[in-house]
């Protein structure tokens, strides 16, 4: 597909057009972080679509922290999912959706049973992603093989240049949006694409430089193998306060609990985010708990990402977005956990230029 170009003014018109037709969500800066907000006339000039990933994980749009999933014995539950557009997703965000897609709508996690709420939300959402231009200090996508610019998984992708944006179409849904706003776009010229590629290269180098000291000679998948008894888990979980914040903020953590309640005239069932860091996560009736110690749960979270998911779908369930590092009150940094696992296994770490 031919690549398109949109100038800065026409880009604003395009966003205006979207806001008139859909619920549009885009990152807006608040103190140190970017948060997704519904775009309206008051905040439209404050959206930050082409800098870095928001601290909000994209999963909140498809797997909200709490969702009614049944009003049972009275199948009248009407689920109203609006058409919406997410503007400003980054490649780490898109990559994380591969994990939630596999669990909620894929074959490996239940051929017979898929989550209709998730599927509907995914179908009714248009994803407009942007190349990452200014990664956070904590971003480490390149350490887990993820690029800071998307290759797939978007409806449209925008790459920012001084004079405007290069647009890549990724789906029929994206194609339709382009057609509907045709007058705003022109064909991208080769020199613009060259500039885009240079930008991409610059960001890759920046992320690699920021993570030089953490880069192991072997993959995280290999480092975590047979690490259950490693002292590294105890050492690093010493600062853990068991809050589960890393679970909640992680774009690939997808565990939940079903809870039931009774209102005046009906029974309700809700889906609620759960966190494997919390003591009772795996506890069974009668009190037996396979992971009673914090260091076991701490290890389990990363084993899920680099052992459970690779074994099941041959993908790491980590995109290197660094949100877990950004929010941890104990300043736990998983890059350091893996650095120490590498050191313990006498595998070179951090010596690359």
């Amino acid at each position: 597909m031919e690549k398109l170009f949109v100038g800065k003014d026409n880009f604003l018109k395009f966003v205006q057009n979207l806001v008139e037709r859909f619920s549009v969500y885009a990152p807006v800066e608040k103190e140190d972080f970017l948060f997704y907000e519904k775009v309206n006339q008051e905040n439209i000039d404050k959206i930050k679509v082409d800098t870095r990933r928001a601290i909000h994980p994209l999963k909140s749009f498809f797997l909200p922290a709490r969702r009614k999933v049944s009003e049972y014995f009275n199948s009248s539950l009407v689920h109203e999912q609006q058409n919406c557009v997410i503007l400003g997703a980054k490649n780490c965000d898109l990559h994380a959706l591969k994990i939630s897609d596999s669990v909620y709508s894929g074959e490996k996690f239940g051929v017979e049973y898929k989550d209709p709420f998730y599927i509907e939300a995914r179908e009714k959402t248009t994803l407009i992603s942007f190349d990452c231009l200014s990664p956070d200090e904590v971003c480490f996508c390149r350490l887990v093989g993820v690029d800071p610019f998307p290759g797939e998984g978007f409806d449209l992708n925008f790459s920012s240049l001084e004079e405007g944006f290069i647009i890549q179409v990724g789906s029929d849904k994206g194609e339709k949006l382009i057609k509907e706003n045709e007058a705003l776009f022109s064909a991208a010229e080769q020199n613009m694409i060259n500039k885009r590629d240079k930008n991409r290269e610059r960001v890759v180098k920046l992320i690699e430089k920021n993570n030089r000291e953490f880069k192991p000679a072997k993959s995280y998948r290999e480092l975590i193998r047979d690490s259950d008894a490693s002292p590294v888990w105890k050492e690093h979980s010493e600062m853990c306060v068991d809050c589960g914040g890393c679970n909640q903020i992680c774009p690939t953590c997808r565990c939940f609990l079903l809870t039931d309640s009774k209102t005046k005239d009906k029974y309700e069932r809700h889906y609620l985010w759960d966190a494997c860091l919390l003591t009772g996560f795996a506890r069974v009736a009668g009190g037996a708990n396979p992971r009673p110690y914090l260091h076991q749960r701490f290890a389990n979270r990363l084993l899920c990402k680099f052992y459970f998911f690779p074994e099941n779908i041959n993908l790491d369930a980590c995109t290197g977005c660094g949100r877990c590092i950004a929010v941890c009150p104990g300043k736990i940094d998983m890059r350091k956990v893996f650095r120490d696992l590498a050191v313990e296994k006498k595998i070179t770490v951090g010596l690359e230029k």
Binding site: V69, Y72, S75, P116, Y267, R269, Y307, N312
Partner: protein, 277 residues
């Protein structure tokens, strides 16, 4: 919309007390419902919550289903206070079944501990439905005291008469009382001299269900007497919430108990740390 979180309205037809803490609930789902021995269901107490349980009745009984439940927590305590004709909900069946087709012409040893006999009763009724398909069946069972034996009439009397000469029964209690005439000892002692019953141990099947510590020591003893890890079948108790491979609660190494289990061979589990905890 096919909603996998929606339970089927189910009536409690009958409640049978088994022991002081264990009751069997006879359930009648509003819609047609079938399962295979070993599979589990999610049982809803309306407005209170759900829990995973394995039916204890015969899968060939299509009209109703039985679930034997020990009172240990919030859900089970609420359930124990319910009455006949009360309404519950069920979802499922979920997970895998005992692969009984692969067990044809083999000797099968069933070892149950406490309320762990519940899924094994469903298995037992499946096997005895086609008894001649199997070379031999031995049922071992251990309870804490004679008062704690579940399906007491069946296991101590009815089945023993019905299958005399075809199935061997070895029942023991940890602590006896003045009326108890049977064996006293931990359930693992029922495996002493098992080679008198089972002629080709390395080719035969063992199925174990009970509290984790019972499963641990029974498995170790089975290995000790010559059973092979791939022929020892264990039912793993985990806290499945969704039952459909999504919620993550029942993760066990690279497995999900709801999707890959709840029936596992010891071969599948032996390298996973802390499986008995």
């Amino acid at each position: 919309m096919n909603n996998p979180y929606e339970p089927i309205k189910t009536q409690i037809l009958k409640i049978i007390p088994e022991t002081a803490q264990i009751k069997t609930f006879v359930l009648k789902p509003e819609n047609h419902f079938e399962f295979n021995a070993g599979q589990f269901i999610q049982l809803t107490i309306p407005g209170v919550g759900e829990g995973p349980f394995t039916p204890s009745s015969s899968p060939y009984e299509k009209e109703k289903m039985e679930v034997t439940i020990m009172q240990v927590g919030k859900i089970t305590s609420t359930l124990h206070n319910m009455k006949e004709n009360d309404l519950v909900g069920i979802r499922g069946p979920y997970g895998n079944r005992y692969p009984v087709d692969e067990w044809r012409n083999r000797e099968i040893l069933i070892v149950g501990g406490g309320v762990g006999l519940a899924p094994l009763r469903s298995l037992f009724l499946t096997l005895t439905y086609n008894l001649k398909e199997y070379k031999k069946i031995v049922l071992c069972y251990g309870a804490k005291t004679p008062e704690d034996i579940v399906y007491k009439e069946s296991i101590l009397n009815k089945w023993q008469k019905e299958f005399a000469g075809k199935i061997s029964f070895r029942v023991t209690v940890d602590v006896g009382d003045e009326k108890w005439k049977g064996k006293v000892g931990l359930v693992t002692t029922t495996l002493d001299g098992i080679d008198e019953e089972v002629s080709n141990i390395s080719e035969s099947i063992a199925v174990v269900c009970g509290p984790p510590v019972m499963m641990k020591f029974t498995t170790l003893k089975l290995l000790d007497v010559g059973y092979t890890p791939e022929k020892i079948y264990l039912s793993m108790e985990k806290n499945m919430s969704c039952g459909i491979g999504k919620c993550g609660h029942c993760q066990l190494g690279k497995f999900l108990a709801c999707r890959d289990g709840p029936v596992f061979t010891y071969e599948q589990l032996k390298d996973i740390p802390a499986i008995w905890d």
